[in-house]
Symmetry: C2
C-alpha cells in the first residue's frame, strides 16, 4: 500500500518554514504498514495543486494533503480539491458546531470567514479538528483515498492519531514493513561498510540495509517488506544480531533512538545522575536531554553560564583561571565540569565552552574552537575540537561530540 | 526562473529524518531571484529517481538534487544520473585529490569504495566538496541546469555558498523576488485579516499577502514578483507601511525574524540584560536565545533547575514554598524569577515551571500545567497556562508564551 504526502504552502517553497509534518506523518504510516512513495511540496496555486493531485494519484493509493485550510484568502486547498472532484461546497453541521464551540470558549465573536471554515466539498466525510477551526476531510474516489488536513502541526497530529490512523487501519488490509536500526558511535561509514561487507552481500532481496551518517554517528537501518510479520521480524533480527556481533565495539543502541536517549536509558538503568555546565552550547545539551519523557530521573539540570561571572558564581571557576587561560580553555572547562559535579551533586557532568561564532574569534582561538569535558568522580576527560564558522552547526556538533564523549566514559565506567 | 529541489533518500520517506536541506536551499535561491516551484522527496530507487528528474524537467529550469552520494551500496544517485543522461562514468582527478587529501588528513587508509567516490558522469563539471568525500556535480543539458549535492547538511551548505550560488548568479539573468514580513504577537489570524481586509483587497496582482500563524504569533508576508527591483520594493514598502499603521499595536517586528531575536535586538538597543530560570522548558529558551550571533551582549545565561534542590541552591527558592505550593505553582515561579534577577544580576528575567508530560500530572495539576513569570526590577508578571499532553509541544509553547510575555513587558517598560 503506497501513500504520497502533498504539503501545500508558499512558506515551504520560499524556505520560511521547514516541513516537519511530512516526516512525522511518514513515520506514523510506516508503523501501520503504509509506505510513503513520495513527498511533494507545492505552492498555494490552483493549477499546481491540481497537477500534484493527478500525479500523486498515478503513484499512490492514499494521498495525504496538509496545509492551505486556513480562513484567509491565500488558503485555497479546499476549493481546489472540490474542483478536482468536480463537486460543490456545502456547509457541514459538525464542522460548524466545532467552529462555534471554539469561538465560544475564547469568548470571541464568530466572523463570516470563520463560518466559511465549515464549508467542505460535498463528497467528503469530515474529520473533527479538536484543536482548531479547519475540519479535516476524507474522500474515497476511484479506488483511492484522499485525506486533507491543516498544516498546523499540533492540529494535524491530533487529527491523525484520533481519526485518520484508526480509520486507515480498519478500512484497509495492510502489509508489513519492519525497520530495525542499530546506532553506532565512533566509526566512519565506509569503515563500517567494509567490516560488514559479507553480511550486507548475503541479504535477501526483501531486506535492505541503509547507512545514515551524522557527526561521528552512523545509523545502520535494516528494512524488510512482506506479508508475514513474524517471519520478517525473525529474519531481520538474525541479520541485526550478526551485525551487532561484528561491530559491537561501536554499537551504542540496537534501536532507533538519539544518543542522549541512549545515555538517559543507560544512566536510569545504573541509577546515576547527570548535570551540565554549558557555555557555547547555550542550553542545547539540556534541551536534548529534557525533551525526553522521564529525563528528570537522571538529569538534575545545571547552568547556562554564558557570562564569565556566572561561570565564577555558579560553577566556582576561579577568576584567575579565566584571566590566565581564557574562558575558552582546557583549564576553564575542567574547572567547569568539576564545579558542576560538586555544586549540582550529580554522578556525571558535562561542560562545554567555546567560540560558536560567527564573531569573537582570535588568531590563537579561531571561531569554532570548543573545549569539552566529561567527568565522574574517578575520571575527567577533556578534549579540544575545532569546527567551522557556522554558529548553529558549531552548537550542534559541540553537543553531539559531548554526548559521544559521555557515552565513551559510561562504557569505560560500566561493568 | 524556476527551480525544483529533489531530495533522495529512504530515510526521509520513512520519517527517520526531517528534510531541513530543502528549506535552506529554497531560502538561498529566493534571495538571488530563483523561485522554487516544487520540492520532491523520492526514494533510493532508480526508476523513481528517473521519473522525478523527468517530471522536474517539465516544471523547472534548474533542478537541485541532494542525497544518495555516499560510498555505500544504497547510494545510487550518481549512477542513476549518468543513466538519465545516457553517459559513462569517469574518474575525476580533482575529486580523487580531494578524497585522498581528506583521508590523509585523518591518517586513514583510502579504501576502494572511497576511491569510487571520485567517479562521476562524464558530462558533469564537479563542484568541490571541502567538507566531505562526495563531489558535487553540475550538468548543463537541453537548456536546463542540474546540480547534484550530498545530503549531509553542512557539506551541502558549504557547496551551495562556495560554488553553486555564485555560479548561478554569474551564468543566469535572474528576475527579482521581494519578500517583506511583519511579525505580530497577540492577535488571531482571522481578526488580523478582518482589520486589514481593505488593504488586502487593494493589492495589485504582482503582490501577494500570506498569513503564517504559529502559537500566538502571526507572520504577514507580502511577496512581489517582477523585474524592477526598486519599483517592487517601493510598492511592497508602501503596503507594509499601511498594514503596520493599521495593526501597530500588535506588531513585534517589521522583518522576518523569530520573537527571541526581536527581544535580543530591542534589549541590545536599550542596553539591558536577561537571564533565565528554566524548569520544564529544560534549556530550550536559553537555546533559542543563544543560537543567535551576538546574544551574549544581552543574555547572561541562567539555570536549568530541573531538580527541586537546584531551584533552592541556585535560585534561592525557599524549601517551604515548594513544600507548601509545589514546584509547579505561581509562588514558586515568582521566587524563581526574582532569584534569577537577584543572583544572575540581569535587568530582566524569565522563569518557567510546569509539567511537560506525558507523566507526572495530578488531578489538580494535570500534564500541560505551566507557570511562567517575567520580571524586571519594577514589575513581575505571572501567568498560568494549560496545554495538552504532548511533551515537545508543551516545551515549545511554554517557551513561546514566555517570549510573548517578555515582549509585552518590554513594550510596557519602553519609552
Amino acid at each position: 500500500m503506497l501513500a504520497e504526502i502533498i504539503t501545500i504552502g508558499d512558506e515551504i517553497l520560499i524556505g520560511q518554514i521547514v516541513d516537519t509534518n511530512s516526516a512525522w506523518i511518514a513515520a506514523q504510516l510506516n508503523q501501520i504498514g503504509i509506505r510513503v512513495k513520495q513527498i511533494s511540496s507545492v505552492s498555494d496555486d490552483r493549477e499546481h495543486i491540481l497537477t500534484a493531485l493527478a500525479e500523486a494519484k498515478g503513484r499512490a493509493d492514499i494521498i495525504l494533503i496538509t496545509g492551505g485550510l486556513g480562513p484567509t484568502k491565500d488558503d485555497i486547498t479546499k476549493k481546489t480539491i472540490a474542483d478536482y472532484f468536480g463537486v460543490k461546497m456545502l456547509e457541514n453541521k459538525d464542522a460548524l458546531e466545532n467552529v462555534t464551540r471554539i469561538f465560544a470558549r475564547y469568548n470571541r465573536p464568530l466572523l463570516e470567514v470563520n463560518r466559511l471554515q465549515a464549508q467542505v466539498p460535498e463528497n467528503c466525510e469530515i474529520i473533527l479538528n479538536k484543536n482548531g477551526t479547519a475540519p479535516g476531510m476524507w474522500f474515497n474516489a476511484d479506488g483511492k483515498i484522499y485525506i486533507s488536513m491543516p498544516g498546523v502541526p499540533h492540529e494535524m497530529m491530533y487529527m491523525m492519531e484520533d481519526g485518520v490512523l484508526p480509520k486507515l487501519k480498519s478500512s484497509l488490509k495492510l502489509p508489513v514493513i519492519i525497520h530495525k536500526t542499530i546506532l553506532t558511535v565512533g566509526e566512519g561509514e565506509s569503515f563500517l561498510a567494509e567490516r560488514i561487507a559479507d553480511i550486507e552481500d548475503s541479504l535477501p532481496p526483501d531486506i535492505k540495509l541503509a547507512y545514515l551518517p551524522k557527526l561521528g554517528q552512523v545509523r545502520l537501518r535494516l528494512s524488510g517488506y512482506g506479508d508475514d510479520e513474524v517471519l520478517l521480524k525473525e529474519k531481520i533480527a538474525g541479520f541485526a544480531a550478526r551485525i551487532v556481533e561484528r561491530v559491537g565495539d561501536v554499537v551504542a543502541a540496537e534501536e532507533d533512538i538519539p544518543v542522549e536517549k541512549v545515555i538517559l536509558n543507560l544512566m536510569t538503568e545504573r541509577g546515576v545522575t547527570l548535570s551540565v555546565a554549558e557555555s557555547c552550547t547555550g542550553g542545547y545539551i539540556s534541551h536534548l536531554f529534557t525533551q525526553h519523557p522521564g529525563s528528570s530521573k537522571v538529569f538534575f539540570g545545571g547552568t547556562v553560564s554564558y557570562s564569565n561571572s556566572l561561570k565564577e558564581s555558579i560553577l566556582g571557576v576561579s577568576e584567575q583561571t579565566i584571566g590566565q587561560f581564557g574562558a575558552v580553555s582546557g583549564e576553564t572547562v575542567e574547572e567547569m565540569v568539576k564545579g558542576a559535579l560538586l555544586n549540582f551533586k550529580s554522578d556525571y557532568a558535562i561542560a562545554v565552552t567555546g567560540i560558536a561564532g560567527p564573531d569573537g574569534g582570535t588568531p590563537e582561538k579561531p571561531v569554532g574552537t570548543v573545549w569539552i569535558a566529561v567527568a565522574n568522580v574517578n575520571k575527567t576527560s577533556v578534549k579540544k575540537l575545532t569546527f567551522g564558522n557556522k554558529r548553529q552547526q558549531n552548537i550542534e556538533r559541540s553537543a553531539i561530540s559531548a554526548l559521544n564523549m559521555l557515552i565513551t566514559l559510561l562504557r569505560e565506567s560500566g561493568k
